[in-house]
Amino acid sequence: MNLKFGVVVFPGSNCDHDAYYSLRKVLNYDVEFLWHKDTDLKQSSVILLPGGFSYGDYLRTGAIARFSPIMNSVISFANKGGIVIGICNGFQILLEAGLLPGVMIRNNSLKFACKDVYLKTENRETIFSAEISEATKALKIPIAHGEGNYFADIELLKELEANRQILFRYSDEDGNVNDENNPNGSQLNIAGIVNKNGNVMGMMPHPERACDPTLGRTDGQQIFRSIANYILN
């Protein structure tokens, strides 16, 4: 399969260019923007829903973007096993679209959280995490969100754990998961999950902002390299 990332541009997306830059200029992958009003995925093998404030976050985060024409194509692509990654607002859109379970509510601090966090990788046997080295106790990746407090009922949380769908949890530098390092109140410190089939992933932290060595952090590369290696091999 050809490796090509399609980065969806919604009105109010503001990490679309960051994603494009990191994938094309830093990692040297093929990338193309996909306009929200189009329905053509342009032969992309991976769809990336970027961060931002699609439709001004009106009503609920991601609620209106979910009905963009491009999303019908993204949903059928995902249902056929296509690889989809949603970052921050992209994660919120995947939740609203029902491609991932649960909901996102306001950070328990009520503050917009913008800082580097550490993520413990809970499952290295996924498309999105296979290349994360065992030596990496925790990935250092920034967050920037006001509504990243992941909420699911007890049954769903049990299901997520049983199916190993929890991919990343907020932790300290050494990968210890605790309340002090939970930046938003997410249940079980959840920062990223995959769907049951393992082809759709959502995460609140921004791996595309942790790729260029000039910025002093490159852990995000491991996530994109995992996806690329999966497709190329």
Binding site: L59, R60, A63, I64, F67, E96, G102, V103, I105, R106, N107, N108, S109, L110, N149, F151, D153, G185
Partner: protein, 83 residues
């Protein structure tokens, strides 16, 4: 034509960090007998239909598909005929 008023409430099982914070403000004001503050949404719009059943169907669809997220919210609405 109908005027619709939709009330969207967060389900009791879902935390409301905003409600908790507002209640802290109330305590600072000296208002101490307030409990369980919850934030919801009130949405108003017109429905350009003359049949009440049809209008209810349309509003139900709007509420369940877009205005509320059934995982965390419940909705109720009333329709008032306008001439």
């Amino acid at each position: 034509m109908f005027k619709a008023t939709v009330l969207i409430k967060r389900r009791p099982s879902i935390l409301d960090p905003q409600g908790v914070a507002i209640e802290k403000g109330a305590k600072h004001l000296g208002i101490t007998n307030i409990k369980s503050t919850r934030i919801g949404k009130l949405i108003e719009f017109d429905v350009d239909l003359s049949d009440r059943n049809e209008a209810e169907k349309e509003v139900n669809l709007y509420c369940s598909k877009l205005l509320s997220n059934p995982i965390m919210e419940d909705f109720e609405f009333k329709l008032e005929e306008v001439k």
